[in-house]
């Protein structure tokens, strides 16, 4: 930027405010005109006040602003009222739709097929998709449902408008409306207009959304639609390490999230025979990876991201755990990499028994990363004779806990459970070496095969009413989702040859779930209740069972996936059998077994619960299987900050005549907790507890109960507002014993917070009350 020096201020006429129209003419600002423009979009929103939006918009306006600025400001103004009345979210979304619509129409685009042609002329659309749309233009144009736009909340639509809609390469104007976008995504994956329209309707109803790479890229010239790549550790040699940097950069460029192991690379001080020198260990190499990941910008939509996995017997494990610390030598810190521990059971057993743990150099025991279960235990015990260093297992475990508490990183993922309970590891030589960036994908890979997974998530909120689940609708959604996830495998562009090799053989997909918290609110089930656990397990069984049935059906049509014979399913062992679980629908499982016996499966893996951060926002539901973090919070994204309020709670408070400014202020003061709102009955306060107020044991128990019906894994975040090593070590030991394959972030909260600027000041005498514990007293904050 350049620094502006003192300039002469243009004289502004403040008595008559004028704005500049899109054609360049000046126009006086008239509050009534703004009111009318807003009123057009009010419709069924009975709690919004267009005059309020108009007057506040004018108060923020300056003389000579453009009408486009005026439109944007009125959208922003409406959005800022969400904390008072959630209906303003819908109003702001509709004003934004009008804005986007105008932008598209001004480029001469009046229909879906015109939007595709315009985008293709500007090099944005794949020729095949363009031809498909041209052939079926009328049918597709007629399928566009204008009411679809009215389903969005503001935050979701803002995200779509800023990051998902295709833009003209030079003018940067959006060339498609939100409905055109979803229909374009559907067309990119369809052979017939009827199936495109069916898939479009499902997405437009927000009952299911594929993951972001598919939403970004389907139908475009770069059809990289997979979310996750699992790269095996480089071999213990320089060429292999640099090949991995190259591969990671290519995968990252096209929106993939990367998991990469580093367990095979020798540690600090190990001999390098070629030069007779000693190795500097893995940290300098990870520093290079860190810089490489940060340099890749995924089409301006988000930064590249990667997670490095390391097994805890690696000699550099202690330095690895410090990579995210915010103190110490910067050349040994990697602020862009996520870190995960890939933990064998033997380590946890020794932690529990308070025994020693040996650190072994991979150059002395190169077989360890490929082994699990007893084979690993035996090999590890032999390798211990060559130990580089011996530590107390508990000391290292404590160090892991500290890293989790201080950085949220250093995720605990369990190698043996992941391998023992996988469909892909039935035959010798197939090992899962790591999980992915979000710890929900578990797939075998090797030096020359990079595992790939494409994802999508069902919005459970759209399948549940106060009467319960619409099971038929849920099954229908699963069937459509599986067909289109499977389709991605063949249409996908694979950014590296290693990725292109693996996917056609195993054909894994990851069908997930979001909006579980919405379902619990609708059904009034407290998150930690037995009924909630039973409900979540039955939903997961239905999804997994239907997904398997659909995959068996696809196998009947197109054949089983080429590696099917090497899977446990081929031996008759399905995932619940590996867990020894007792399904609630034994007859359907029995019929399924027969089908699989006859046709095999089209996909080696089907289900994974991804975090759904962005697509849950678009669908307007809570993220995956997570409890709400707060009844009132903000989301920070590249598009800005967005206030989010629990609409289920608002409905409840309104019904009781309690949605008042003083109650709102109390909720804000309590950082979104309703624990002390004694006006509400106990059961209501219990229902609306936040993740910070729930026993975390319940989250682990729910995850373990549904796990038999998830053949990959789940992105399970855990929440402790004030973590201690004691709590953490108890919690993760419990999670391991419960049989979880993976866990994800540890979420915690800052020790103190920014002083609240918009809640009233406590009276002065309260200031002295907090000597014991300053955190607990708002007066001090």
């Amino acid at each position: 930027m350049t620094v502006t020096r003192d300039t002469t201020v243009p004289e502004q006429r403040r008595h008559v405010m004028r704005v500049r129209k899109r054609n360049g003419d000046l126009d006086t600002v008239d509050v009534n005109k703004i009111v009318k423009a807003v009123e057009r979009w009010v419709g069924d929103l009975d709690e919004v006040d267009p005059l309020r939006v108009a007057t506040r918009t004018i108060s923020g306006l300056y003389a000579g602003a453009t009408t486009a600025e005026l439109d944007k400001l009125s959208i922003q103004t409406a959005a800022e009222l969400i904390g008072e009345e959630p209906q303003y979210s819908r109003l702001a979304a509709r004003l934004l739709i009008a804005y986007v619509d105008k932008e598209v129409r001004l480029q001469g685009v009046a229909s879906f097929s015109q939007s595709i042609r315009h985008a293709q002329e500007n090099g944005l659309i794949a020729d095949s998709t363009a031809a498909f749309v041209r052939r079926n233009a009328r049918e597709l144009d007629d399928a566009v449902d204008p009411a679809g736009d009215l389903r969005f909340e503001y935050f979701g639509l803002r995200t779509v408008a800023d990051r998902y809609l295709l833009r003209h390469p030079e003018s940067r104007l959006v060339v498609e409306t939100p409905q055109y976008w979803l229909l374009r995504v559907a067309c990119g994956l369809s052979h017939e207009p009827a199936e495109a329209i069916g898939f479009y309707r499902l997405m437009s109803s927000l009952a299911y959304l594929p993951s972001s790479p598919t939403l970004f890229n389907s139908g475009t010239r770069h059809t990289q639609m997979s979310s996750c790549f699992l790269v095996d550790s480089p071999r213990d040699e320089l060429d292999s390490i640099y090949e991995r940097y190259h591969q990671v950069a290519k995968l990252s460029k096209f929106s993939g999230g990367i998991g990469i192991s580093w367990s095979r690379v020798r540690g600090r001080g190990a001999l390098i025979r070629g030069t007779n020198g000693r190795s500097n260990g893995i940290v300098p190499f990870l520093k290079t990876l860190d810089a490489g990941v940060a340099a890749v910008n995924q089409g301006g939509r988000r930064k590249g991201a990667a997670c490095v996995y390391l097994e805890p017997w690696h000699p550099d494990v202690e330095e690895f755990l410090e990579l995210r610390d915010n103190t110490g030598e910067e050349s040994r810190r990697t602020h862009n990499l996520n870190l995960a521990n890939w933990i064998p059971d033997e380590f946890m057993r020794r932690v529990e028994a308070d025994e020693d743990w040996s650190l072994v150099d991979p150059s002395d025991a190169p077989e360890l990363p490929d082994l699990f279960g007893e084979a690993f235990d035996d090999a590890y015990r032999k390798a211990e004779k060559k130990a580089v260093k011996t530590v107390k297992a508990r000391d290292l475990y404590g160090r892991m806990m500290r890293t989790l508490a201080q950085t949220g990183n250093g995720w605990m993922t369990f190698k043996d459970a992941s391998n023992r309970l996988s469909n892909q590891t039935g035959a010798p030589g197939n090992t899962i070496h790591l999980s992915n960036l979000c710890t929900e994908i578990l797939e075998v890979n090797s030096d020359d095969e990079t595992a790939v997974c494409n994802l999508g998530s069902i919005n459970l909120a759209a399948h549940v009413t106060a009467d319960g689940v619409d099971w038929a609708k849920l099954r229908e959604t699963v069937r459509t989702a599986v067909v289109f996830l499977d389709r991605v495998i063949d249409i996908n562009y694979y950014p590296s040859p290693q990725a292109a090799r693996s996917n056609p053989r195993w054909r894994p997909i990851g069908l997930g779930l979001m909006g579980l918290q919405d379902a619990f609110f609708t059904l009034r089930l407290p998150f930690d209740s037995a009924a909630a656990k039973e409900f979540s397990t039955r939903v997961q069984e239905e999804i997994f069972l239907t997904a398997l049935e659909t995959s068996a059906g696809l196998a009947a049509e197109s054949g089983s996936h080429p590696a099917f014979a090497r899977t446990r399913a081929a031996e008759g062992d399905l995932h619940p059998d590996l867990w020894g679980a007792e399904p609630a629908q034994p007859d359907r499982w029995a019929a399924l077994r027969k089908d699989i016996g006859k046709h095999g499966l089209r996909n080696s893996l089907l289900v994974a619960i991804a975090p759904t951060a962005t697509i849950a926002s678009i669908a307007g539901c809570y993220e995956c299987i997570e409890p709400q973090v707060s009844n009132l919070f903000k989301r920070e994204t590249m598009s800005g900050e967005f206030l989010q309020v629990n609409t289920y709670l608002v409905r409840e408070l309104k019904a009781r005549g309690l949605w008042t400014s003083s109650i709102r202020e109390r909720i804000k003061r309590a950082e979104g907790s309703v624990r002390d709102l004694t006006e509400l009955p106990d059961d209501v306060r219990e229902l609306f507890r936040t993740a910070w107020e729930l026993p975390q044991k319940a989250l682990v128990d729910l995850a373990a109960a549904r796990a038999p019906y998830i053949d990959q894994s789940q992105s399970l975040n855990l929440f402790l507002s004030a973590p201690t090593i004691g709590k953490l070590s108890s919690m993760y030991l419990y999670a391991w014993k419960a049989g979880l394959k993976t866990t994800y972030y540890l979420r915690s909260r800052p020790a103190t917070r920014i002083q609240q600027a918009t809640v009233s000041i406590a009276p002065v005498e309260a200031v002295a009350c907090s000597l014991e514990n300053p955190e607990s007293c708002e007066a001090c904050q």
């Binding site: 930027m1 350049t2 620094v3 502006t4 201020v9 502004q12 923020g60 306006l61 602003a65 600025e69 005026l70 400001l73 103004t77 800022e80 999230g257 940060a294 930064k303 915010n326 103190t327 910067e330 602020h335 996520n338 932690v351 508990r394 404590g398 201080q406 949220g408 989301r635 920070e636 994204t637 590249m638 598009s639 800005g640 900050e641 967005f642 206030l643 804000k668 402790l720 973590p723 090593i725 004691g726 070590s729 108890s730 919690m731 979420r747 909260r749 800052p750 020790a751 103190t752 917070r753 920014i754 002083q755 609240q756 600027a757 918009t758 002065v764 200031v767 000597l771 514990n773 001090c780």
Partner: protein
Amino acid sequence: MSLLDPGMDLTLRPMKYPQFFDRFKDAIKNTWTVEEVDLHTDLADLGKLSAAEQHLVSRLVAFFATGDTIVANNLVLNLYQHVNSPEGRLYLSRQLFEEAVHVQFYLNLLDTYVPDADQRAAAFAAVDNIPSIARKAEFCFKWIDSIFEMRTLESRADRKKFLLNLICFAACIEGLFFYGAFAYVYFLRSRGLLHGLASGTNWVFRDESMHMAFAFDVVDTVRREEPDLFDEQMREQVRDMLAEAVECEVQFAEDLLEQGVSGMSPADMREYLQHVADRRLAVLGLEPMYDSKNPFAFMELQDVQELSNFFERRVSAYQVGVTGTVRFDDDF
């Protein structure tokens, strides 16, 4: 024995002001470093700003270039010697470190935002060259000088002077000048702009909130120990001081916003500053002077929990200095 009695109390046990020690420990848990703030997307954003917004940002960073240094100077030259409590001085030492980190952050920010050496030098010299910033600096220097020559607080008048200085730095400088500046940053962030500036500022703001709370805690402690100090004359002086600070900050706002920024008018900014000033008075138990309401809804966003998507933003909600030992039977 009172907090402002002259001397160098060295004994931590028995602890007379444990709340100061607790604040010291909490501050340590919030440790952050400049290297954690990623400014690279800001550079792309700067190119997207309108001329009017560019002007706003350039003035704003010019203010930040010296703001924290001034606060640090007052801390060392005036506050540290008179707060006669070893645990209070522990907190002030920590605060001094934090001010240094803030200075380093804004140094890094200007070096990144303003690549041209001459322009960069001009930005750092803003305190002399840009009238709207110079006026705020003069206000600060006036209050630093007001007790600079005082070696000990012997008389009632000395202690009143000290309290005024302390209140000035808490309520007017950290509590109004910085709060004003933060409003611009958060305004930009609510529009999705300058995330690097916003995330660093978020951490600065968290620290400043604690500095202010500590200062007001000292004021309250002294008022409890020596109730007669805070008399009507002093109340009047506090009100005058805040009114002058509001005027300083309003003329700064008129400079920043002179080219017209959609969503932030000088009139709204004045309203906001008056509202903040009323809040500072309320903490001191004084009646509001303005009865103004906060016109900026985006400031509400600062009052609620944040949830970042790690794909997009670095999560700032972690603590350092976590304690305990490995156990298997804790509740969780």
